[in-house]
Every structure is written in structure tokens, then in C-alpha cells.
Amino acid sequence: MGGMTRGGTGRSLAGWAALAPAGLWLGAFFVVPVALVAQYSFATRDLGIARVVLPWTLDAYRLALDPAVLPIFWRTAAYSLSATLACLVIGLPLAWFVARHAGRWRLVLLGAVLVPFWASHLARVYAWKALLAEDGPVNRVLGLVGLDRPGGLLLTDAAVVVGLTYGYLPFMVLPLYVVCRRFDPRLLEASYDLGHGRFGTFFRVVLPGLAPGVVAGSLLVLVPSVGDFVTPALLGGVNQLTFGGVIDDQFRGGNNWPLGSALAVLLLATVAVLWVARGRRAREVL
């Protein structure tokens, strides 16, 4: 203990004892299960109760990387990137205002961002389903300017993106709030003094200053929206199947665990690349 409290680099018994429970938990319920799925991705499909059998092959990967799967891959990427961008566009002014202009209402307004998320995720998706339906308010308003469509906006790409944006907005706002609080306002004055206009200041001073929060927030929105199959299932149709939905099908309905595992490993690999690439400064926030 002495070594630790005195700022030594040595580990002490207390330090290890404090780390052990979380480490063991994640080892048992995270590392081992993910390793198991990685192993299954090389197995052969069994239609019986065993679900996976030897011999080990690359068949599942061959199937997963089949050109027929590619549209699902691109669609998922388009949905989650659009949702991330939408969260950024909505979340940045919100976080900036709450962090810097809300005065003593700061915490109230920040809390007000989180309140809607106490309603069940499904109820929120369902609310959008009602709002976007053919006779729902959104389609009626669009009808006033002649932009309504038969069947409403349900079962469209836009509906899925709206649902994902709504579902993960707080994950964008919270890291952005942190970096907006930290942002030194003197940088703004300096930028104006140096002759930058509003746009120059935003793109050359504000955005780079907030970059760690932007990266962290984007990751926190991107990752769950890639894996989310509930929102596309409820707001989209059969043409809106996403990557998460395909994995879900293999484990639940299709009963092809090796293919599902291979897809899960590919998804995990993509996320790992993004995580490693997030940059040193983003690590201060996430």
C-alpha cells in the first residue's frame, strides 16, 4: 500500500485486489464469450441441437463476404453514418448552448436532454412510428407543401435514420458538453482579432478545439447504430435490413451460428479499427 500512496510505480496488493473483481467479471462474461464466437466463426453449421460442429473451415467467412451481402453492408454504413452526422448537427449547437450560455440553468437543460430517454426505447421508436405514419402529423405537415407520400414515411430509409438519430442523440451530446465546457473563450476573441470571420472561426478554431468530443460522440453513436436491429425492424421494412439484423437472423431464426459468428467478428473488427484510429486527443474524453 505504501508504494502506491507515495506515488511509486509498483503495484500493491490493494491495487490488484481492487482491480480483480472487474477484471474477472469482464474476463468471464466478455473476453471468453467473444473468443468463443470467434472460434465458432470457423466451425461448420449443424442444424441439430449442437449448432456448431467440426471440421473447422472458412466457409462462414466465404458466405459472409459474398457479394450478395454487400448491399446490406453499405446500407448499414449509410444509415449509421447519416445518423451520426445528424446527431452531430443537432447535438453541437445544443451542447454549446447548454455548456456556455445556460448559466445556472446548465444542469437543468443538460438533464432535460436525458429525460426523454427514460421512456422505453421501444416506446420512443413506436412514437416515431405513429408520428411518421400515413395519417400521422409529419406526413400531414408535408402534405401542406405537397411533399406527403402515400403510406407515410414509414418503411423508408429516412424513417430508420430519424429513429437512430433520436435513439442515440444523448451519447453525442454528453461528450460534446464536456469539451464545450473546457473550451477557452479567449480563443474566440483571438480568432476574431486575427481577422477570421464566423465561418473561419468555427472551422479553424471551434471545431478543432472540440474534436476530441466530436470523435468520442461519433463513436458512441456509430457503434450502437451499426448493431441496432430493433429500430430498422420497427421503422423500416424488408428493404431496410441491416448488418445487426442479419446477425440476429443467424442466431435466432436462421440457425446458422457459424455465419452469424463470422459476421459478428467482422463487425467487431470494423469497430476495433475505428476505436484504435480514434486518436490520442479523443482518449481524454473516451
Binding site: 507515495r6 464469450p33 450560455h101 416515431w128 433520436y166
Partner: protein, 274 residues
């Protein structure tokens, strides 16, 4: 704040309405679906588009629906257990990581990993683990294992942020005054950490309470949390008005809690000013 930001404001000049407009728009986006839900919960009919009159019948049916209430009770127990376990494990881990040591980067990465793993991957992995490897029946235990796994990272992040602001000399001073490790923890570290632990536990509670994806793989006989039950219904014939009523109640409850928290904090702040 207003003083310091003057440069920004004057430079924006007449465009001063842009930021407030964007903020109002964002809150409208956040609250429109919630207000719509609240309206629907008082609607006399099952319809989602026409209001036939005010009624409390969905709230009454909610209170009479055994299946929903059982699932709700299971969900509350699960969320409370998750919050407790995640708070204890996460706080200990965050405390262990408060100083540099060899391997700290690796441990931090491992503790943050569940945060960036898509839920569907965690769900199917744990399904395979419990069914094929551990041979444990699905249900409460499996759900708890999963929920603590994905909420632990949040507790670690929040508590570490608070610990970063804790002056290490406080603990050293306590040690110099002869306090043992446990006394130091109890009298110096814990009092500073309570708000962060509470925030982390609240986060874990919400995450667990609302989880559909991971839980949908791990629900067992007699162990189906409410969101999984609702998802089963929703994909067949839409969310029932009872669930809309329940969600409305949850939002009202959280608003009340938020207001109380703000009032308490404001009172404490006034107290400190004196």
C-alpha cells in the same frame, strides 16, 4: 460567462438568433415524440391518429395486467442489482487505475471495451457462452452478467473523471495522520466519490432498465424483462397503449426526480454561499 463570451456575441451581431433557434429545434425534436406518447396514453381509443376523448383506462389496465407488472418487477430488480454490482466493481477498478503503473493503458482499454462493442455481438456471444460452454440456464443470472458487463464501463469513466479531480495529497495527509487504508477510503476517498458513484449507478440502472437487444437473447422461462416482452408484442401488433402509459409515467417520474435533484443542489449551493 456572458462577460467572457462578448466577443462571440458581438461578432455574431444580428445572427444572434441562429444558436437559440437551433437549440429550440433540438429540444422540439427531443420532446415531440414524448409529448405525442403522453397524449396517446390518455386517448380513449386504441388508435394512434385520432383522439376520441380523454380517458385513464390504459393506466387502469396497466395496473391490472399481471404479465406486464411481473415483467416490470423483474426489470426493476435486475436494474437495481446491475446498478449495485456495476457501482462496486467499477468504483474499485477506477480507484485502482488512479495512478500510472505498467499495464494501466491495457486495463483502461479492457474496461472501456464493452462500451464500443455492438450489443448484438455481446448478446450472441453471451448466448453461445451460457448455452454451449457454461451450461447455465438463461434467465436472471445470465441477464445480470450481461447488464453489468455493458454498464461497468460507464461507472469506471464517471468515477475516474471524479478521481482525477481528487488531490492525492488528501490521501497522503490522512496517511501521515495515521489513518489506515480502510479509514482513508472511508473518510477521504468515498465522500469525494459519492456523487460520481451515484451518477454511474443511475446510468447503469437506466441502461439495464431499457435494454432490449442483449436481453432478448438471454431471457429464460419466467425471466423476461419488460422491454423484451414489449418488443415481442411490438413486432407483431404494435406497442399496446398500456406500454405507452407506462413510458409516460417513467418520463414524469424522471422529470420529478430531476427537479428534486436541482432544487436540492440549488439549496446546497445557497447554503455554501452564506
Amino acid at each position: 460567462m456572458a462577460q467572457v463570451d462578448r466577443g462571440w456575441r458581438t461578432a455574431r451581431g444580428r445572427r444572434r438568433w441562429v444558436l437559440p433557434a437551433a437549440v429550440v429545434g433540438a429540444y422540439a425534436f427531443l420532446y415531440a415524440p414524448i409529448l405525442w406518447l403522453a397524449l396517446l396514453s390518455f386517448n380513449d381509443s386504441r388508435s394512434v391518429s385520432t383522439f376520441t376523448g380523454f380517458s385513464l383506462r390504459w393506466y387502469a389496465e396497466l395496473l391490472a395486467d399481471r404479465q406486464v407488472l411481473d415483467a416490470l418487477w423483474l426489470t426493476v430488480r435486475l436494474a437495481a442489482s446491475t446498478a449495485l454490482v456495476a457501482a462496486v466493481l467499477g468504483t474499485l477498478a477506477a480507484w485502482a487505475l488512479r495512478r500510472p503503473f505498467r499495464g494501466r493503458g491495457l486495463w483502461s482499454a479492457v474496461l472501456a471495451m464493452p462500451l464500443v462493442v455492438p450489443e448484438v455481438v455481446l448478446g450472441v456471444s453471451l448466448l453461445a457462452f451460457f448455452v454451449k460452454l457454461a451450461g447455465v440456464p438463461l434467465g436472471f443470472g445470465a441477464l445480470l452478467a450481461a447488464h453489468v458487463t455493458f454498464s461497468l464501463s460507464f461507472v469506471v469513466i464517471v468515477v475516474r473523471a471524479r478521481l482525477a479531480g481528487l488531490d492525492p495529497r488528501l490521501e497522503e495527509a490522512a496517511a501521515d495522520l495515521g489513518a489506515g487504508p480502510l479509514t482513508r477510503w472511508r473518510t477521504v476517498t468515498l465522500p469525494v466519490l459519492w456523487p460520481a458513484i451515484g451518477a454511474g449507478a443511475a446510468f447503469a440502472f437506466v441502461l439495464s432498465f431499457d435494454d432490449v437487444v442483449t436481453s432478448s437473447y438471454l431471457s429464460g422461462v419466467g425471466g423476461t424483462p419488460l422491454p423484451v416482452l414489449v418488443y415481442g408484442q411490438a413486432s407483431r401488433r404494435g406497442v399496446s397503449p398500456e406500454i405507452v402509459a407506462l413510458s409516460t409515467s417513467m418520463v414524469v417520474l424522471s422529470t420529478v426526480l430531476l427537479v428534486v435533484a436541482v432544487l436540492v443542489m440549488a439549496r446546497r449551493a445557497r447554503h455554501l454561499d452564506r
